[in-house]
Symmetry: none
Subunit: 217 residues, 2 copies
DNA sequence: TCCGATAGAGAACAATTGTTCTATAACAAT
DNA sequence: ATTGTTATAGAACAATTGTTCTCTATCGGA
């Protein structure tokens, strides 16, 4: 069903993709014509018909700009701009999201993720992990931690916890036991620690961890 | 500049959003007319002009379906559908991406990520991590590993390595030393292992690791 | 060589679609 | 009452844009 594209048709698909990206809507036959240096609209139509037959595009007949790229544009699942509001390290409290944190005009750094990762949750922010103190949570130096503001969490959820006496942040799964709190590392081979409920302060729920390897582009 | 929308105009914006999601391209004035139960195209045009003045939409004059929703429209391109082609576990070779892997019609599972994460790289695929054997790479059971097909990697890059004699996959940073290969765990507190170059087979480059916490929606 | 499939060119046609013009009505402020 | 703004209607116009028809050219196989 899906064959290798000829140079011209590959060029057309690329052009449609680029056009959609720049303009937000698909090109007309004549847009493709001039964009790909084709002499006639009928030639464009000819290639589009072949592309549709091979399943590379989908067309709505008689509809202007009625071109879809299956898979790439079909689902408009949204992108979320997650503000990177600071870093997280063992020895310092994590930054608290302020009222202006989600202000797009704030000019902060943003991490773009799909709603599939945040699962539609609101008020997500990101922290960059500094140092190796989170290895027992299987989190490395440089990782991004996606957090959701929360002062309480359900049993078993991973949370950022401020240990008041130790003046330390840690990322652990929280289990409330009768009169103490069990803080369980993500790495289940490691031992949990137990804390007095009054000594801990939940600073947020961990939604996701994203680690990018290799040198930044 | 950005004011509260009247009921009718909110309905129009919602309709455009829904239409874009279903069809992959923006609606015409007449699509909006029938979709929102408006009696005249001029009324639609009137509302669209107001919406544009208020900055809620952007229009290209004289262009059919020339409507953009700022912020969401650009989301279309920079998303990548990464096919989840299998799982990775210590004792089994990782699946090899086939020629049909990137076939949209293949109906496989996809992980949607932004181009910011893949950094524009092509031929990315994803593997779900099975088991705890990758903890020394700070990778947990259930994590998603984004891979790029590669049979060689640069020094220091993280790769999926098949150890022929041991019949095991492992994720390690690869350093070629004079006559041996040093395989360094991501967790730098752990010791490297050394291998004969003829005993290893590089199966792919690790691009990113994504871990989602909490129960799936 | 002949033939069929593929690719391209040019022009005209017809449908789609954005725009504009004229009216009407409700409502608030002057 | 008058004026101005907002919202709605209907119709016609003009630009955009998809489709089709005819011709030509190349290339590989029967």
């Amino acid at each position: 069903m899906k064959s290798q594209l000829s140079a011209k048709r590959q060029q057309i698909v690329d052009f449609i993709l680029q056009f959609m990206g720049e303009r937000g809507y698909p090109p007309t036959v004549r847009d493709i014509q001039s964009g790909c240096g084709i002499s006639s609209t009928s030639v464009v139509d000819y290639h589009l018909k072949v592309l549709e037959k091979e399943g590379h595009i989908r067309r709505d007949p008689e509809v202007s700009r009625g071109i879809e790229l299956p898979g790439r544009a079909s689902a408009l699942t949204e992108k979320v701009q997650v503000p990177i509001i600071g870093q997280i390290a063992a020895g310092e409290p994590i930054p608290v999201p302020g009222s202006d944190t989600w202000d797009v005009a704030a000019g902060a750094d943003f991490l773009e993720v799909t709603a599939e990762i945040t699962r539609g949750r609101q008020d997500i922010y990101a922290l960059r992990v500094k140092g190796m103190s989170m290895v027992d949570a299987l989190i490395n130096d440089g990782d991004m931690v996606l957090m959701q503001y929360a002062s309480t969490v359900d049993n078993g959820e991973m949370a950022a916890i401020w240990l008041k006496a130790e003046k330390e942040v840690t990322l652990k799964k929280v289990y409330l036991e009768s009169d103490r709190v069990r803080l369980q590392p993500a790495n289940s081979q490691m031992q949990p620690i137990y804390a007095n409920p009054r000594n801990i302060e939940i600073q947020g729920r961990v939604i996701a961890v994203i680690r990018q390897l290799g040198k930044p582009a």
